[in-house]
Amino acid sequence: MYTQGLNQAVEDSGPEDAELLARFQAKIDREEKIEPNDWMPEAYRQTLIRQISQHAHSEIVGMLPEGNWLTRAPSLRRKAILLAKVQDEGGHGLYLYAAAETLGISRAEMVDRLLEGRARYSSIFNYPTITWADIGAVGWLVDGAAIMNQIPLCRCSYGPYARAMIRICKEESFHQRQGYEAISRLAKGTAAQKRMAQDALDRWWWPSLMMFGPSDADSPHTGRSMRWKIKRFTNDELRQKFVDATVPQARLIGLEPPDPELRYDEESGHWHFGEIDWTEFNEVLAGNGPCNRERMAARRKAHADGAWVREAATAHARKKQSRMAMAAAAE
């Protein structure tokens, strides 16, 4: 779904060969891809490991709020769509872990970092899915915001990540459309359904805007990520694009974003929106969102409950191998 790690600093690990660095930057400037075996600055490697693994963790943790409605989807068609979507998220996670592994870290290490609380995932998944309308809102707004971030990543300088993003973006775009279609149905439905839809927009609107990360003024590392072409647009540029695309979609189906300052600015051609509550953003980031503890507890429980299963698979594979070796020796 989305990673929030675009702005986090990775300290330079010390002086690196100036000539290698110049060649690396020239390659990026020529819009050529950096591949796993190419030389790269340690900070570039670490920034990508952090960003791609956070993105992967977000996909996996993101399965939880949506999975919350798998057993209660209101029709078989909706259930099938949701199952397919959650399965896609798992697939994205798998794909992204594999992309990160090309940078020299194992999936097990990445998962450990998540479970020990040393790695982040997108804060948006710390919000609850209380009603069915939240499933529509997550697809429409959360996946919609994710796409804004991810389409530029298809041109990211790191080859494996860029290629992974091409496939992921195709699926995310389908997710966004199904989310909008689902919430549109509610907005045109009974009074109870419409109430549910507006309530979901009220709760998901601001957290969705926060998904783009701190405003540019508070985002000191944007410069380097842009120079390395890991990042192509600033947080505020992407946030504005999202608001511009989404406000008309909401109004088209008779819903209203919960922002009294929202107005179209003829001069700039953009929607003006109110101030984001960065205190809330920082609180959720610090672990004090509505579901931070539940999400991590669910991930840790699945991992712990699955330990004997993984051990069984390893033990069986080892036994099978030694039986085959013994059979071969007996021949």
Binding site: K301, A313, A315
Partner: protein
Amino acid sequence: MADALTAAYALRLGDDALILSHRLSEWVGHGPELEEDIALANTSLDLLGQARLLLACAGEREGKGRDEDALAYGRDVLDFSNLLLVEQPNGDFAQTMVRQFLFDAYAVELWPRLSASRDEALAGVAGKAAKEAAYHVEQSAAWVVRMGDGTEESHARAQSGLNLLWPYAGEIFEADEVEAALAEKGIAVAPSALREHWQARVEPVLEEAGLAPPEGAGVRKGGRQGRHSEHLGHLLAEFQFMQRAYPGAEW
């Protein structure tokens, strides 16, 4: 043309797929490994696809204007006709996979035969389901072997899953007048005809896994006639909640 027998038969097969799909969907996001999480979702989705086609077919043959959702969300326990096996709770991963294997070993024998049904709609669903069941049984059999052969703990868990679920397997091969009448016409597959094929699939896998069916476990049955275990009511309470809370709304 209304055809109550074919409707009842399609409903039985559809209910099996619907309820088992639901059970598997409870796992999604909580699997023991990411690959297995994806596989569980995938199998659940395959089964849901089968269920939708079969319920739609049942609704048509019944001729009372009930579509897939009316049948899925509008019936109570007494009118569900799935096997008791598929409504049994997930338990741990071993219990889930043993349940899946016992069912898959039957499905993979049923669908190819039913694809030759003289009922075109059933034959069509069966043709699609046959391919899916072949993947499913490969996956569940592999896990039964891994767990049975793996560690002391996994073996104990797999054996206890088998002890719990084995009595429900017998119901698969029970036939009443619905299957008997339709089998005679070449529309249905007589369940009793599948028993030896099922055994031929199950026995070697259990042997490789080092697992043994419990002795003298008896047969638990009644699902086909709407005599269910206590578990189905709870499953339906969750599954049908939205349609019950907002009757008549469209989603």
